[in-house]
Subunit: 149 residues, 6 copies
């Protein structure tokens, strides 16, 4: 703990929660992401093989879902440009995301405290639960944000 | 542990290590990723504000670096299509990635064992250290892969 | 009026009219345009919300329709590179454009005269009526072109 | 005028004004927009010809500047999803936008009243002045928004 | 012939053959390729005209199929970065490629010999037969590779 | 030969020649083409390795140059939509194309005759010489077009 005056923002407070807007995943999202990352694995790029797989169709890259989830979160974040991403813990892919699925993110602050080692730095942990249009969780992660007070 | 016959692949073995090919990040990568994710934060999109920031220039989105790092890794992975991403732990952004930087990934298997709860499932953990052209680490993560034996 | 010799081109003459080629709007057009402009409003990006709206489905951004309409017009313009866009008047969105719609533009010169204040400058006004595959007008505008004689 | 109760929002009030965030235009923006619209005119696509033109370099499409300006405006609009674009008047291109320029938009409400013909419809006119990093106006327009009260 | 020691690689040997992975062509592939190349011909861009044509629907650009075929080939090539494309002979478009088609390439080495005029240069010719998901040949070409021994 | 009346168009006549407009190749062209085709070879994607290569910098994919050359050609072709590409012969890559290069195409009809086996089919061969801004030939090919008379 430090003795700097620390104003805890509403969005830093444990229990602060909201759901982001939704975003429908298009085929072109998968093609562009495959192109940018170079991950052209058959389940993303080959409709014939994907049809015969246990998924029955092409699936989105995990990193595409993760990237859009973080984008949705930052687009809603009231502290834009003041708190920054430090990293993520416990990123877990739970269900596939298909072309045409609409995902949104349930965000909730679960920890928020001053960093013991770095005075003046507040560390906030949000759980991010990415859900599809059926309310199923497709991806979960803990998002660590930091803010200088 | 289970008593199923488990063939440990070379790329499953603790200590297995390699470095991926390199990938130069272009301005268009940042613009496309900002567009896809909706994260249009000033440090990515506004060269004037970025010039006055402590970075001195625009920086890549964390999720762009992460996505390309995973893509580079899968493009080199000899087990393509058999082992799948289960998730990530300890994802930590260490340094900014700038337009024109070339990143590659140092991969090393650090854990590999049969899942105690799910017989027949091997769980492999790789550390991924994303480095720029100066050899500096820009992103670190633990990548969890699973494989049915 | 000026006393410079002014050759009135065919495409400058009041009454000159033609219809451009057609262009089918894809889902990827909307996603790319949303990305480039940052306008990620639900009616463009969230198929679930769009389904429940009075449109029943996602709609194209007005600026996407406008941009493609101008592109179609310039791709057909016989004076390419000599006349330039000065601006638009009376831009009116009349009907939504949906994924899969094919738009074309009916162009007609309605005014054409020398600029009274700037000798040597001809000012041409074209009406542009953007229509979909059902012949419905989706966007109307007056396009002001200028040409040095 | 109607006798419906009309709550005039802050952002509907004449005099309400703000400046949007900035957006740096990249070469890839021009290439993508040229591709999407089909307008591949030399001043956008041919660096050699552009170098010899009076601009000295390639310029952005007018519709690209206009589209990004509207996107910047909607990304800042507090009434997102309630007020919609009806059209534009007096769109005037004032100066070229070059690769690397950063544009932002000065928005000001100049008219706001109930529609005389359509009871329950409020019509708001904003002037949008798009400026580059030197504070020069590159594009001006009047943006007409409507809202059901 | 030269008297340099020439190690003939497996992939240089006449008769060496394999089939690449598959790639499903999306509508966005056609739109992006039309944009990049400027070829906005109606059979690629106008679903209404394409519907009335002998194809009954939009078709991919020949150069899109050719580019993806070469990409699929190089992504599988074991000599990546050592052998380079010298050119192609007998490129023949055989059947249209439609949105949703999945193409792969049957590659076979048909000639391989030292260049008589340029000592130290091996010249390899592969036939590339691009096939769709029905096993129909859509494009054939002879791909000439060179390698310094 | 057939006895159908065959109108030889101007653009079918041996000796008919023109040069297309120019097109500057951007870094984003290479990144998008690498993404679409999956060809992420180091000379296109890794500025560090490319710097140390005999080229000294990244180079465009051969198929990107070829695709844009054909697009430039079709954008200028007066017979748009009537003559179609049958294939190419003698495609030869002559010099690398770098980021920032501006290419255009010198087209000349070298053969034009009725197909002996297929009555009513005219076969036209054009040489296409793709040149950069220094007038150097970077790619040569023979383009075979067909037209039903």
């Amino acid at each position: 703990m430090t003795d700097e005056p620390d104003i805890e923002w509403e969005c830093d407070r444990v229990g602060y929660a909201y759901t982001t807007r939704g975003r429908t995943i298009g085929e072109s999202d998968i093609l562009l992401h495959a192109g940018q990352t170079g991950d052209q694995y058959a389940l993303h790029m080959d409709a014939e093989i994907a049809r015969q797989s246990r998924y029955g169709q092409r699936i989105a890259h995990g990193t595409l879902t993760l990237s859009i989830a973080l984008g949705l979160k930052f687009d809603t974040d009231q502290s834009k440009g003041v708190r920054i991403s430090y990293g993520y813990d416990s990123v877990r892919y739970r269900k596939p995301v298909f072309i045409g699925d609409t995902i949104s993110v349930k965000v909730e602050v679960t920890r928020s405290q001053m960093d013991e080692k770095r005075p003046g730095l507040r560390r906030i942990v949000e759980t991010m639960d990415v859900v599809n249009q059926h309310g199923e969780s497709v991806l979960f992660l803990e998002h660590i944000l930091v803010r200088w007070v």
